[in-house]
């Protein structure tokens, strides 16, 4: 799929699916027998965040480091000091970073840009063309450049994540191919993979990239069935 540097960063626009993808990716690495630590650097989103998956991921042997006040009743964008040490020790294990959305969320990465760049990294632009401000490749590319400026790191790949939540179908995924290719041309970045929910019948040939099967993990333990 993608080569194996020590650090993999998932960044992108608000709600593009970074947290779900990062958690699925960490689980994928773990299944391959690698040691993984997940750094939740999202300091902008109050709900539906990685800390809600901590127990599930811990069960699978994946350590999650979350912002000190994640999931609490206050809004303090502080990252724990352990993150720096983990990044300095890159090489001992695989590090997956889940960044907050947009350039605002990406700002948290800037502080670690130096140590990440010297360790070797890949940074994936998570792209869901069904989201507001991402429906044209031009808009999505603009967002990409804003994030790069804020993070002080450049993207290495696109991670296509075309979905309409619970209503995602085969057509949803196939219809997105044109948009993803347009973004790839505009940005000059390759598509690392297309993330597809398990059970949706799509082949790698049809989306012209490798497939990454994923599960939807963030749903408040099934509390919310679709309305209707």
């Amino acid at each position: 799929m993608i080569h194996s540097p020590y650090i993999t960063v998932f960044a992108g626009l608000f709600g593009s699916g970074k947290t779900n993808l990062a958690a699925n990716y960490a689980m994928h690495l773990k299944r391959r027998g690698e040691e993984v630590v997940l750094l939740d650097m999202d300091v902008v989103n109050p709900l539906f965040r990685m800390s809600e998956l901590s127990a599930l991921l811990a069960e699978k042997g994946i350590a999650v480091i979350t912002p000190s006040y994640a999931g609490t009743n206050i809004d303090i964008p502080a990252l724990p000091c352990t993150m720096e040490g983990i990044l300095q020790d890159a090489g001992k294990r695989r590090i997956v970073i889940d960044l907050g959305g947009d350039d605002i969320g990406a700002t948290a990465l800037w502080r670690y840009a130096g140590v990440i760049a010297s360790a070797g990294y890949e940074m994936l632009y998570v792209y869901n063309c069904y989201r507001p401000f991402a429906q044209t490749a031009q808009e999505a590319h603009l967002g990409m450049m804003e994030i790069e400026r804020a993070a002080r790191l450049t993207f290495t790949h696109i991670a296509a994540n075309p979905n309409l939540g619970e209503e995602t179908t085969r057509e949803t995924v196939l219809f997105a191919k044109r948009q993803t290719e347009a973004l790839s041309r505009l940005s000059g970045l390759e598509v690392a993979f297309t993330a597809v929910m398990e059970g949706i019948p799509v082949s790698a040939e049809e989306v012209a990239s490798s497939l990454f099967p994923i599960q939807i993990l963030l749903n408040r333990a099934g509390a919310l069935r679709p309305a209707g």
Binding site: F14, G15, P46, L47, Y130
Partner: protein, 352 residues
């Protein structure tokens, strides 16, 4: 196939407001609704509207008042503590019969409380919100699609009755993402002959005012407004009754709690337990007649809220002692689980 977008609740509110012809957004950031303002900051300039981040919530609602007085579809958005700050001007809006929409994506209280979801502002929203004799229409969506649809409805009702309308959600609804189809864009707004748009020397001035020197004059105006409230009660009470017809236990819940309650109802039904859900969609006017009808087959009512029991009082008033009404609430930013609801339902069933 209609064009679908995967939207966060807060984004859906903002885009639907633009589709409804809203061209004035005035806000001040507060978690968990800041995305509404962030979205508006990007989109309003694209549609020739006005986005202002005011210096405070009080300032923002006063800008809404100015825009509404000039006939513009105007919107402000906040979360619980911010709504308390807006209260005085909301009373002025009602007193001046000005249409406007106010979003409250509730967070935990009282005081600064916390940023997690809550429904503890039910009293505030439905019982007048500020000083004086008045009501507000209060709409309570429970999905991202309803956030979009009810935004369109909110502006329509605001103009039709010349009243402020509250869209009452919570942090969970604002942050969750679902596919949504936006209502069609409103092409022409209803004419507002009362708006302060300049006489151009052709008509007497329209005066927007809430001070009345003669008490009988003020009383007559309030009485006229209460006639309008009666019409609203007759025509605008909205609700959803879900599997209520044969229910032994009827759950009452609104907003995101109704969503969780619906999960519980479906699980109970799968186990052969006859449970139903009554979901008020307008919290004011409260659908009391419909609730009485929906509760006919029930032995007991279970009111579920993210509060210590606020809608509970309206449920009890509507049923007026006809059925025993029980309560399950979580507060402080805690969210009830389907399991707690199911357990409570089963306990009530054994007891009855």
């Amino acid at each position: 196939m209609a064009h679908k977008v995967l939207a966060k609740g807060n984004e859906a509110l903002a885009e639907a407001a633009i589709a409804a012809g809203c061209r004035g957004f005035f806000g001040y950031p507060i978690t968990p609704q800041t995305d509404v303002a962030a979205y508006m900051a990007r989109r309003m300039p694209q549609v020739g509207g006005v986005y202002v981040q005011a210096e405070s919530e009080i300032s923002a609602i006063n800008m809404v008042m100015g825009a509404a007085a000039a006939g513009v579809r105007a919107l402000t958005s906040s979360s619980s503590p911010g709504i308390s700050l807006k209260a005085e001007t909301i009373s002025y809006l009602a007193a001046c019969d000005l249409p406007a929409v106010i979003i409250n994506m509730q967070r935990a209280g009282p005081g600064l409380g916390g940023i997690q979801p809550s429904q503890a502002d039910y009293f505030q929203a439905t019982k007048g919100l500020a000083h004086g004799d008045f009501h507000l229409i209060v709409l309570a969506p429970y999905s991202v699609q309803e956030l979009a649809d009810f935004m369109a409805l909110a502006f329509e009702l605001a103009d039709r009755y010349r009243t402020p309308v509250i869209l009452l959600g919570d942090g969970m609804l604002g942050q969750m993402m679902e596919p949504v189809v936006f209502p069609p864009s409103v092409e022409s707004l209803p004419e507002k002959s009362w708006a302060a748009t300049g006489t151009k020397g052709k008509r007497p001035p329209n005066i927007i005012n809430s001070l009345y020197i003669q008490p009988d004059e003020l009383e007559a105006l309030v009485l006229e407004r209460f006639k309008r409230y009666e019409t609203m009660k007759q025509q605008e009470a909205r609700f959803e009754a879900f599997l209520a017809d044969d229910a032994e236990i009827l759950i009452t819940a609104y907003g995101s709690t109704a969503r969780i309650a619906k999960s519980a109802v479906l699980t109970c039904r799968e186990q052969g337990v006859r449970v139903g859900l009554f979901r008020p969609i307008t919290l004011w006017p409260f659908p009391d007649t419909a609730l009485r009808q929906a509760a006919q087959s029930a032995n007991a009512i279970l009111c579920v809220e993210m509060s210590m029991g606020q809608m509970l009082e309206d449920v009890r008033l509507a049923l007026n002692g006809a059925k025993p009404v029980h309560f399950l609430g979580r507060t402080g930013g805690m969210i009830p689980t389907p399991t707690e609801i199911i357990e409570t339902v089963l306990r009530l069933r054994e007891g009855s």
